[in-house]
Amino acid sequence: MTETAVRITDLHKSFGSHEVLRGIDLDVVRGDVVCIIGPSGSGKSTLLRCVNLLEMPTRGTVVVGDHEMTDPDVDIDAARRTTGMVFQQFNLFAHLSVLSNLTIAQRRVLGRSREESERVARANLERVGLAGRENAMPRQLSGGQQQRVAIARALSMDPTVMLFDEPTSSLDPELVGDVLDVMRGLAREGMTMLVVTHEIQFAREVADRVLFIDGGVIVEEGTPAEVIGAPKQERTRTFLARVLHGTAEV
């Protein structure tokens, strides 16, 4: 059974007179991992932020599961619950312990009891390899640990789609691996994932599909073998050469 988890149609987004997205069409099949790559400023983060309406699209429609996010009458808070988002800067709630970071939305949004929300939270901390850190404050954790808590926080809302916005870009190199391992685990479990990333190796290994975006349009898409292994477009080749060369030097 193939089912569409996310359907994006003719998506445009402008900031003032600057058009960042210029007509994106994308269907994401349930259970797929879609990696979005492209130069900075290409609009890939904006595309992701349009999926859960952190940015309001200028034109076009976004449908996640049964919710048309772009419908003016949609209950946006209810619709957002179907997606979990992981940010480049982690954005853990600084005044709350790890456990409270994971339970606050469960309790205030889903109306779960304290016991149930804590049970879900502990299970998800276990899932990201941080069991036992419930009482730590975010600032006491390394960047990699914070990001894994952020993933666990998003998972605790039982989303159908996970959105990752450059989840490893602000991490020290030696901490990237742990976060990518957690994401690999999620992919294996069959979570639908949209991942904006510079980790070409991760995309090659984990993605079912890769999109190369430049100038607000999808330049090339296909399997990792097609887009990364044998890019057809000149722009894709140039980008990959620069990124892979850069990584090789580090």
Partner: protein
Amino acid sequence: MALTRRQRARAWRGVQYAIAIAIVLVVAFTADWATIGRAFFDLEVAASLFPDVLTIALRNTVVFTALGFLLALALGLVLALMRLSSVGVYRAVAGAYVEFFRGLPALLVVIAIGFGIPLAFGTILDRTLAITIALGMVGSAYIAETIRAGIQAVPPGQVEAARSLGMSPARTMVFIVIPQAFRIVLPPLTNELILLTKDSSLAFLLGTALTQQELAQFGRAALNEVRSLTPILVVGLCYLIITIPLSFLARRLERRFGSAGMPKGAEV
């Protein structure tokens, strides 16, 4: 004679110490200590002020300040949220309120509340209530700006994270933004409390009954009965007993919450 730089520095320091010692000696030998002592600190006069200076005056100062501060805090939070509202009318009203009350001497506000409300509505305001309202209105204008700045200092990523979890704007404000904003504004709020403590002395405008006197008025009243500044010195010390611990507290809170409240990377 050529001095090295270090020798010159040492000589200059010696001169400064010599000047300081000379001043102390001159003051010590020329002053009439007995008269000065009587004028500023007469133990007998000081003793006669107790226990009323503590049980009535200090207590009233603390009560007026605390009540005024609580009102100012509540009003200030509402005004701060109004200033950040997407509704233009709220923004304008709150902005006008803040400019108005920040620009007036607290003295005028106390008079306006204490005498204006009885004139306008024909009701006599309880003195505690009047000074509470006046201090609350003055304090709230400053506190509103402090809280607004605190709310704006919470990184926008915190709001985005909350919204992405399905929290409504109101819940995000209550559970995520305001708790963090309060940590940020705790030190400046403590300073507002110190200012309000001193402004509570304006209660002297509203009555003279002994049981309602706060520190400043108590000191002035006592001054009329003795030929000594001692009462002023005593009530001054009482103010410092309140305000100095508060400024220590403010500094401690600043060290604790100054920047540590934010997660690594969130400031970017």
